[in-house]
């Protein structure tokens, strides 16, 4: 009886949140999903007829195809770069003494204390034709004329890596931390050098963290809006910026809605494969 009361009390405590969720989150999404099938440009009203033409349009029109490719490229490049830059940092973070670790943690998450918009504008100044980056490159004689960075994918990826680094570093660090240091030392004593130990022992054992970090980075980057809007501008458009444009600027609700759900589908698909990969990995290791 006690358990039942507790369970009921739990449900009661949860219900305000559930109501909020249903009204403020699930209902709009359902409405938006229906809207993506509406004929014409308006949003759903009872009695309007439905069609799948917006989805077909997004997949067949060359403009939308380009935007889809841009989005995927931005996701892949950002994820790879963040992983390359984040892994060494995560490894040091995991193996640091508790004092250094506290400092490193603050440094890793410090970008999150600054608003995305502020960071976006800061990068747009740094990456402009006569900004810090171009001036430095010319100073060192690496280039003779300013390189176009702003309004290209390069600028957007730089900005996104800055945003995503904490999301990559923290899960990898906790995965590395859970590896018994004696395992690493055993490898050395058995004759393995640092690199061999890294690729044969450390990296495979940290895979759960790597997968979590990359999937999170990929998903968030794919659906990002602020950095592409500020650093990509009209020259580099992605799903996030186009959805904003279609719905809020030219009031083409159904196309914007269809694009939003295509994006959700891609992210869900990636997460599904992550789940499968993780379960294969853990099954291999923890069979009892």
């Amino acid at each position: 009886m006690g358990a039942l009361t507790t369970r009921r009390a739990g449900a009661l405590l949860l219900s305000p949140l559930l109501v909020c969720y249903a009204v403020a989150f699930i209902a709009p999404i359902v409405l938006l999903f229906i809207t993506s099938f509406v004929v014409g440009r308006g949003y759903y009203q009872p009695g309007t007829s439905l069609t799948t033409e917006h989805y077909v349009h997004v997949f067949t029109d060359s403009f939308y195809q380009k935007v889809l490719l841009n989005t995927l490229a931005m996701g892949v490049y950002t994820t790879c770069l963040t992983l390359l830059l984040g892994y060494p940092l995560a490894y040091h973070h995991a193996r640091a003494s508790s004092k250094t670790k506290g400092l490193l943690t603050i440094l890793v998450i410090s970008p999150m204390f600054v608003s995305l918009v502020v960071r976006g504008y800061a990068w747009s100044i740094m990456l402009s034709d006569h900004g810090v980056v171009n001036n430095l490159l010319m100073w060192f004689g690496i280039i003779n004329e300013p390189v176009r960075l702003l309004n290209t994918m390069k600028a957007v990826v730089v900005g996104m890596v800055n945003v995503m680094l904490p999301f990559m570093v923290l899960p990898i660090s906790s995965a590395v931390e859970s590896i018994n240091p004696h395992i690493e030392e055993s490898a050395y004593v058995l004759g393995a050098g640092k690199l061999y130990t890294f690729f044969k022992v450390i990296f495979p054992l940290s895979l759960p963290g790597v997968i979590a970090g990359t999937v999170m980075t990929f998903a968030i980057t794919m659906s990002s809006f602020v950095m592409p809007a500020l650093l990509g501008g009209p020259g580099f458009q992605v799903f996030g910026t186009i959805i904003y444009n279609r719905i809020l600027l030219i009031s083409n609700w159904p196309v914007g809605a269809a694009m939003a759900f295509i994006l959700v589908a891609i992210v869900v698909l990636v997460m599904y494969f992550q789940e499968r990969l993780l379960s294969v990995l853990t099954k291999r290791r923890r069979l009892t």
Partner: protein, 369 residues
Amino acid sequence: MVMPTERRKSSTLTVESLTKVFGNHTAVDEISFQTIPGEITAFLGPSGCGKTTTLRIIAGLESPTSGSVYIDGEQVNDVPAHRRDIGLVFQDYALFPHMTVRQNIEFGLKIKGLNQQEIQERLEKSLTQVNLAGKEDRYPQQLSGGEQQRVAVARTLVTQPRVLLFDEPLSNLDAKLRESTRLELHNLQRKLGITSIYVTHDQIEAFAIADKIMLMNKGKIDQFGTPEEIYASPRTAFAADFIGTSNILETTVRSVNQGICTLALKNGQMITGFAVGKASEVSPGDHLLVMIRTQKIRMTNTKPERGQVNILPGKCLYKVFLGDSTRCLLDAEGIRLTADCESECVTNVREGDVYVSFDVSAVVPVGRG
């Protein structure tokens, strides 16, 4: 046909004034010793005495603040762990959880660049050695603690290391398994003749497995010798207290005469001991710590025969029956003594007034008070 790889000659491990300082804590303090090829040396001591740090320095996982490590006369201070050609078995085994037993054992062989045939031969041989044949395709998590321990040993032995290091390899096993595994380890080491270091805080384990014991305390070597030597003649109060169960008594030297010294206990009673070891250079008035093993103390209701020395009147406070022996807590006029008497001899001794006696040879001087 590939010639079966003959194990090379056993190696000598030499350590010279090894010191390791962490911050302001000296973990290892000027340690020097040499092992005899093929022998097992146990590093014995309480936790925090520096035994594991010394082992890690020998393995190359920790660099010494000063001092040197030599293997077969060659200084290895600057040789990184992966080129030292040693083996190390950790307390928690540290198997590679993402590899099967086979892959774990082959790990060191593949790095050595052996051909497939030799890898296979050594793998099979080591699987038989540690009695794991048929389990090579399992993952570590599918094995019992004892089996994991044997994989750790096999993984190390296949590489035919010059020196084998064990860091409390049995402490994660239950008591019964610990004893049988210890025997297996001992036999295997004897058969292969690899010079070994065995770190433990358990004196019984050290006695059972080691040829030599290096007793450590606070980063220093307290005593180095065979188990028999250390047990029979501990040179310090720490050694006497740490090894076996004993009574340590503070005494004042009254006289030294023809190899016999007479010592006054704190309560004024006199006891007699041989003037050996630390007692050979004392003179009357000096303070001397002596040790009497609990098993060497006798307890009787009647006063033992005349002429015998070292008889103290006392009280038996209580007796604890332990099977073969009975532990008696005694009070000899203000001096507490613990005695482990044969149960048969003391069944009829009542708690209360008794006589406590021990031989002259039971009084072992262990230090200057």
